[in-house]
């Protein structure tokens, strides 16, 4: 049941992504409205799919990495819809939905078999650890989208030859503020999530990083984001901050990729 719903949700996201790109090119108001409807429909379908999955499993659908990634996507779409509505940044979908699509396809590919929960994995702290880290990841996906838009617009302005994107993308100030705020939002969630993970791992396994690639890589991503935030405080901004947002997200993607493909405790 949840698999069918999830596939339908992904289908809606595919449609929404196509429409978001069409809006970027065509600038027709009705295309944007359709894209918003498709995004909302996808999100609603994914919500039901996750509820169905949680019901079938008898626990939050966070016990395996594919499940957790799916929940991260769910949070990301929610944040995207909220931010787009709030800031009137109508082109945001074209930059966030592709990320949504890649991750949901990846997690769906791994979704086919329901993994048995590892006996050591239990306790409320575990769910909190995973949940907080996921919210952080979703915020950093937005951070990445904002940075990408910033870099594209900055390039247009530096080149002094405006192309189509110059007209479509908002001003640098807005984009810089977007990357800063998403960084400021994501960081505490990621930090708390990781700290809880470390504490919990220490209690459950007696060792913290012990050859778990995901834990090591997420520590790398955390260091990059911490550095960016410190740099921001010291007056970094614009292009440099945007580059770091891209690198940080690359590390996060690598982290999740490692979790999905390399053997480790995060399964």
């Amino acid at each position: 049941m949840h698999a069918i719903l999830m596939n339908l949700a992904i289908l809606a996201y595919v449609v929404a992504t196509g429409l978001a790109f069409a809006y970027l090119v065509e600038r027709q108001e009705w295309i944007h409205r359709l894209a918003r409807v498709a995004t909302g429909a996808g999100w609603a379908l994914q919500t039901t799919a996750l509820v169905a999955l949680g019901h079938a499993l008898g626990r939050p659908p966070l016990g395996s990495l594919p499940e957790a990634v799916s929940v991260a996507v769910w949070v990301l779409v929610l944040l995207e819809m909220w931010l787009e509505r709030r800031s009137g940044l109508k082109v945001l979908g074209a930059f966030v939905l592709p990320i949504v699509l890649v991750f949901s396809l990846k997690s769906a590919a791994a979704h086919q078999q329901l993994p048995e929960i590892v006996p050591t994995l239990s306790g409320a702290w575990l769910w909190v650890h995973i949940g907080l880290a996921l919210i952080g990841i979703a915020a950093f996906a937005l951070n990445f989208a904002g940075a990408l838009m910033y870099l594209l617009q900055e390039r247009q302005l530096k080149a002094r030859r405006p192309g189509a994107l110059y007209y479509r993308l908002p001003d640098l100030e807005t984009l810089d503020r977007l990357t800063y705020r998403t960084l400021a939002l994501g960081f505490p969630f990621l930090t708390t999530g990781l700290v809880l993970g470390v504490l919990w791992a220490g209690a459950a396994w007696g060792s913290v990083f012990a050859f778990d690639p995901l834990a090591l890589l997420s520590a790398v991503a955390w260091v990059i984001y911490a550095g960016t935030l410190a740099g921001r405080a010291a007056g970094w901004h614009g292009r440099r901050a945007a580059y770091f947002a891209v690198i940080g997200f690359a590390a996060l993607v690598l982290t999740l990729g490692a979790g999905l493909f390399l053997p480790g405790r995060h399964g």
């Binding site: 600038r27 027709q28 108001e29 617009q153 302005l157 530096k158 002094r160 030859r161 405006p162 192309g163 110059y166 007209y167 908002p170 001003d171 640098l172 100030e173 807005t174 810089d176 007056g235 970094w236 901004h237 614009g238 292009r239 440099r240």
Partner: protein, 422 residues
């Protein structure tokens, strides 16, 4: 009775001819009064701008009305009617509506999307109203044209991107800074164009303004004119450090802002970008300044390139606007067609209702002690039959009017149902 537009514009008539025909307001009044007096046209609006002279009118014989009005115009201005005749275009009915919509929406303008034309059409319309030459046909058409023009402005971007160098600079500043409120402007050198650009920036909230000039008196003058502060030329480095937008226009033959100086201005300013608008030739700001992080430097050629790109963007938007206008024209004509057949539809309904009501009354009188339920059922039955019968002819009438062939169908319906004269 036919609606038409006849005229000449920048598209097909040279400026010499246009300026000869362009009329001042009192001459326009005279022409409109003449039209009303001679009855050459039932309704008329004359639009006269430096880019076009057009007559919108409703007349029994459009050809004659057009000839009469332009004869009048030529006589006034001593222009050879043959020369005018050769440049005239004429559009009838639906094409005239399309032309009116396109002109008002600024799609037929020399600079597509320029905002003045809407006001000019409104003025022409108001003038004709005051001369009482506006009737129902032109009134509906122009009211709709104004609405369509507004829609085109809000739903497309044909009027959005700057087509002058100074406005292009303002738009660039907005793309860099977001809002311009509280952004400090520094003018280096004086000049009409830099003053104009500064004024545009101030209109958007930029403040304060500093003016540096090698001649102290000129710095003071310009500062006074712009409500700014003069700064000595030797204090340029400090002024640069405090500025967000720098407009340079000195006649210096060597760059005033070299790479090192710009780098110094960026020192310790944190997240604030610096935007150089260099309208001097030769350039006042070294080209390499643009390579600095968070510095944007546009010279006059760059600004012209931006304007060219803006115009191309407007033209792309114009295609969308054309499609929008086309839809609006079709909708307008459909509604107009309905207006034509509505009286017939109404009398048809009335005729059948009259018959129905009469027959029901007679039947009920014969039935005598019929229960309220029976009476109601008879009413409902008869009404249903009438509606079913009317459905097809009414649909057919509406369709025929949209297809432009309502005339024969109207006659037929009147004959068949003995509706009397229209």
């Amino acid at each position: 009775m036919a609606l038409f537009v006849a005229g000449l514009s920048h598209k097909n008539a040279p400026v010499e001819l246009r300026e000869q025909l362009a009329l001042e307001e009192d001459k326009l009044r005279e022409l409109l009064r003449d039209v009303a007096a001679t009855g050459a046209a039932r309704e008329a609006v004359v639009l006269s701008t430096c880019n076009r002279v057009e007559v919108y009118a409703v007349a029994e014989a459009p050809g004659e009305a057009r000839a009469a009005m332009f004869r009048h115009l030529c006589r006034h201005r001593g222009v050879d009617p043959a020369a005018v005749e050769a440049a005239l275009y004429t559009h009838l009915e639906g094409d005239a509506v399309r032309h009116a919509f396109r002109v008002t929406a600024s799609l037929d303008s020399m600079m597509i999307g320029e905002p003045q034309i809407l006001g000019q059409v409104k003025d022409a319309f108001a003038l004709a109203q005051s001369c009482e030459t506006v009737g129902p046909a032109l009134h509906t058409m122009f009211t709709q044209a104004f609405a369509v023009a507004k829609k085109v402005r809000t739903e497309t971007e044909i009027a959005r991107h700057a087509v002058s160098v100074s406005f292009a600079a303002v738009e660039l500043a907005k793309k860099i800074f977001g809002g311009l409120a509280g952004k400090a402007i520094l003018l280096v050198g004086a000049g009409k164009m830099s003053e104009l650009a500064a004024r545009h920036l101030v209109e958007q909230g930029a403040f304060p303004i500093y003016v540096a000039n090698r001649t102290w008196a000129r710095a003071q003058d310009l500062a006074r004119a712009l409500a700014g502060t003069p700064v000595p030329f030797d204090a340029l480095d400090a002024a640069l450090a405090g500025a967000d937008i720098v407009i340079t226009s000195t006649a210096a033959s060597e760059p005033v802002v070299a790479l090192d100086r710009a780098r110094g201005a960026m020192h310790g300013r944190g997240a604030r970008p610096l935007f150089f608008i260099d309208i001097a030739v030769p350039r006042n700001v070294e080209a390499s300044v643009n390579t600095l992080d968070n510095v944007y430097c546009y010279d006059i050629d760059d600004l012209r390139q931006v304007v060219d790109a803006n115009i191309r963007e407007r033209l792309r938007e114009a295609q969308r606007a054309e499609a929008l206008v086309e839809r609006e024209v079709a909708r307008y004509l459909a509604r107009l067609g309905d207006v034509e057949v509505i009286p017939t539809i109404v009398s048809l309904r009335e005729r059948l209702e009259e018959i129905r009501a009469g027959e029901v009354r007679r039947t009920l009188a014969r039935l005598g002690g019929a229960s309220p339920e029976t009476r109601e059922a008879i009413e409902a039955l008869s009404a249903a039959i009438v509606n079913k019968i009317l459905h097809a002819p009414i649909t057919k009438l509406r369709e025929s009017s949209r297809a432009g062939s309502s005339r024969s169908w109207l006659d037929l319906v009147h004959e068949l149902f003995a509706l009397g004269r229209k």
